[in-house]
Amino acid sequence: MEEQFLQKFKEVLEVTDRNLSLSDKFRSYEEWDSLAFLSLIAMIDEEYDVIIDGKDFKQLETVEDIIQAVKERK
């Protein structure tokens, strides 16, 4: 799932020049903004049928944290 998620997240952010890694602090990405946030939440909902509410999302720091949050809600 990790590889697939990294790929999907990359598409959400429209990153083409590098690969993302699990330990990345996604909020420090240059591409991270409110559009990216809404895209990510919608992508997770569509692909994994999981809804992470805003309050919980605020606690997440790394890409791995997001994946963990998705797994916990599956």
Partner: protein, 248 residues
């Protein structure tokens, strides 16, 4: 000359969505200006909290989900004749246009547009609006001030303004006035539970020419103005209250 033009004494006012945020603040402020209130909302406990904060007497709380036809019927049956209505209940669920789900679209449209329209219809049919009554819809600057993910919410907030202007025209003969209030970002618990971090909001707040977001009571003061006899000759208008954000 009326020396207390903003007084709401001897007026009975319905406030929807009164179990939290702006609705609660409007209800409390109206009671402080002498009105008696009927307050409604979906959360019984929170509604009771609002009721306990109202000044004066003659208030009632009626738990109702305005999206439910039977709740709407029983609410209207229980209501006394009204001198004011503040249609405030509303929801938002931010998502990009690309990802809008039909269920969410229906729910937001229903809560923010269809149900307020049907509530007014029922109030009119059952003759619950007194001559001289004032009706207010809480719209939002989102109606024309765009932000990402807010498309459906913005559409409903624009539509309610268009609706209110026709309603104003239709009810002018019976001296019922209809106006809208368009707040910018207001600090409520909705914001605290929202997706953005405190830092995001601080950054956004700095964009406001008056330097900060609005407070719920500031929306309430605008509502008092439009509910009171001070505005007897104002109908079909829209009061923007946004710390100047729509200037930029």
């Amino acid at each position: 000359m009326n020396l207390q033009p903003f007084s709401l004494a001897n007026k009975h006012i319905l406030v929807t969505g009164a179990s939290s945020g702006i609705g609660r603040s409007i209800a409390i402020a109206c009671s402080e200006m002498g009105a008696s209130l009927s307050i409604t909302g979906r959360n019984a406990d929170e509604l009771e909290k609002t009721l306990s904060q109202l000044q004066g007497e003659g208030h009632r709380s009626i738990k109702a989900d305005l999206n439910s036809e039977s709740d709407l019927d029983s609410l209207v049956n229980e209501l006394p004749e009204l001198d004011g209505v503040v249609s405030n209940a509303g929801i938002n669920k931010r998502t990009l246009c690309k990802y809008i789900k039909e269920n969410d679209l229906d729910l937001i449209m229903k809560t923010n547009l269809t149900s307020p329209i049907l509530l007014i219809k029922r109030l009119l049919k059952s003759k619950k609006l007194n001559s001289g009554a004032s009706v207010i819809f809480i719209s939002s600057i989102a109606a024309y001030h765009s932000s990402i993910g807010d498309s459906v919410y913005s559409a409903t907030k624009g539509a309610i303004v268009s609706y209110s202007k026709v309603l104003a025209l239709e009810l002018a003969g019976s001296k019922v006035r209809v106006n809208t209030i368009q707040p910018g970002m207001i600090r409520t618990s909705l914001l605290e539970n929202g997706p953005l971090s405190a830092e995001d909001y601080e950054k956004d707040e700095k964009k406001y020419p008056l330097g900060r977001y609005g407070k719920p009571e500031e929306v309430a003061y605008a509502a008092i103005y439009l509910l009171s006899d001070a505005t007897s000759w104002i109908t079909g208008t829209n009061l923007v209250l946004d710390g100047g954000i729509s200037l930029i």
